[in-house]
């Protein structure tokens, strides 16, 4: 038995039996990991959703499908209210109420349209509805940016657009004047109102 001073390299030769036992224990683990990697590369595996880029297109399609459903629903509601107004009630408060409800749909439509435009532009997507219901599914920015464009559409902007549309609708519905006539002709309406007022002044 020879001895060497401290600091010099000492060649170590592992016992062959010990080596076989160590790698033999690890081999199943390596095989399992290899199998998982092959499954993932072959498209059969499940990565965490945040890394599942293949699923992004599917999510776009889902958003688009919901957007189309909202469009159809909004159109159906508009038709229903039209029929309802035609047959039943023409009261001003009823009209304002229906306009308010319509404004809610306008908001949804605007919001969804922004989402759809973003999809069409292949940008990070997400209407506010989408962000509410799919927060966990995808990492989305708080603002929707359309690439190569000056648009900067965020949820407050959507609400602002919907609110503006609502205000315009309510303003147009309430500021007609003394009455609603059978005619769209503003001059005819004014002439009729003046005639009636003139007669009323002489009763």
């Amino acid at each position: 038995m020879t001895s060497k001073p401290i600091g010099e390299d000492v060649p170590v030769r592992p016992d062959l039996a010990v080596e076989d036992v160590s790698f033999g224990d690890l081999q199943p683990m390596f095989d399992e990991q290899s199998r998982r990697i092959e499954a993932v590369v072959g498209g059969r595996g499940h990565l965490p959703r945040s890394l599942n880029f293949a699923g992004l297109r599917t999510q776009h399609r889902r958003v688009l499908r919901r957007w189309c459903l909202l469009a159809v629903a909004s159109a159906a509601v508009a038709v229903y209210w039209g029929i309802d107004l035609w047959h039943h009630n023409f009261d001003i408060y009823y009209r304002i109420f229906t306009l308010f409800l319509e404004a809610v749909f306008v908001f949804i439509m605007v919001d969804s349209t922004v989402s759809a435009v973003s999809i069409a532009q292949s940008s990070p997507v997400g209407s506010s509805l989408d962000r509410i219901s799919h927060k966990a599914n995808a990492a989305k920015p708080s603002k929707i940016r359309i690439q190569n464009s000056k648009f900067d559409l965020s949820r407050p902007v959507n609400i602002g657009i919907a609110a503006s549309v609502t205000l315009v609708m309510v303003a147009c519905a309430t500021s007609v004047g003394d009455g609603y006539t059978m005619s769209q002709d503003h001059n005819a309406r004014l002439a009729a109102i003046n005639s009636v007022t003139s007669i009323l002044n002489n009763i």
Binding site: H87, F90, I199
Partner: protein, 161 residues
């Protein structure tokens, strides 16, 4: 991608169309909501018929009004016959012919415009006629409050002034 753009365009058009419809729709009273007398004369070429929904009498009262204007003598004769608006007094007729207006007012049962009635009910029509301008205004009162507001329109106006 092209398909998505087309869908986007279509839905944008739908939104704009719906908005335009909503903006225009409330201004027009549907024919079914117009008065019976308006529907009776609306297709008569000799009479110009107008219907005003919620014509404001004062701050708290609004009534529906039908205005009938005779375009020619045939139209006026039709109105005079149907609503019994003839004037028997010859001097009054000559005054009107000389450019002096005469406003006659009568209260009638709804749908029956030839015969005036005396009732305390508010659910009546008030027919006011300008003989010089050949115009007939029919105020469709639904209750006593509306009827009172029409009859005393000038009085209330002068009091408020």
């Amino acid at each position: 991608m092209k398909k998505q753009r087309i869908i986007t365009l279509l839905v944008c058009l739908l939104i704009v169309g719906s908005g335009a419809g909503v903006l225009l729709w409330p201004r027009t009273v549907p024919l079914a909501q117009c008065s019976e007398v308006y529907r009776l004369y609306v297709n008569n070429p000799s009479i110009k018929a107008s219907f005003i929904k919620d014509f404001r009498i004062n701050d708290s009262v609004s009534v529906d009004v039908t205005l009938l204007e005779a375009v020619d003598s045939n139209g006026w004769n039709t109105l005079v016959t149907d609503m019994n608006l003839g004037i028997q007094d010859s001097s009054t007729r000559s005054d009107i012919a000389n450019g002096m207006d005469l406003i006659t007012v009568k209260q009638v049962k709804k749908g029956v415009y030839s015969k005036p009635i005396a009732t305390s009910s508010g659910n009546v029509d008030i027919v006011a006629t300008s003989h010089l301008r050949k115009e007939v205004s029919i105020f469709h009162s639904k209750d006593r409050k509306e009827k009172h507001a029409i009859w005393f329109y000038n009085l209330e106006k002068s009091i408020n002034q």
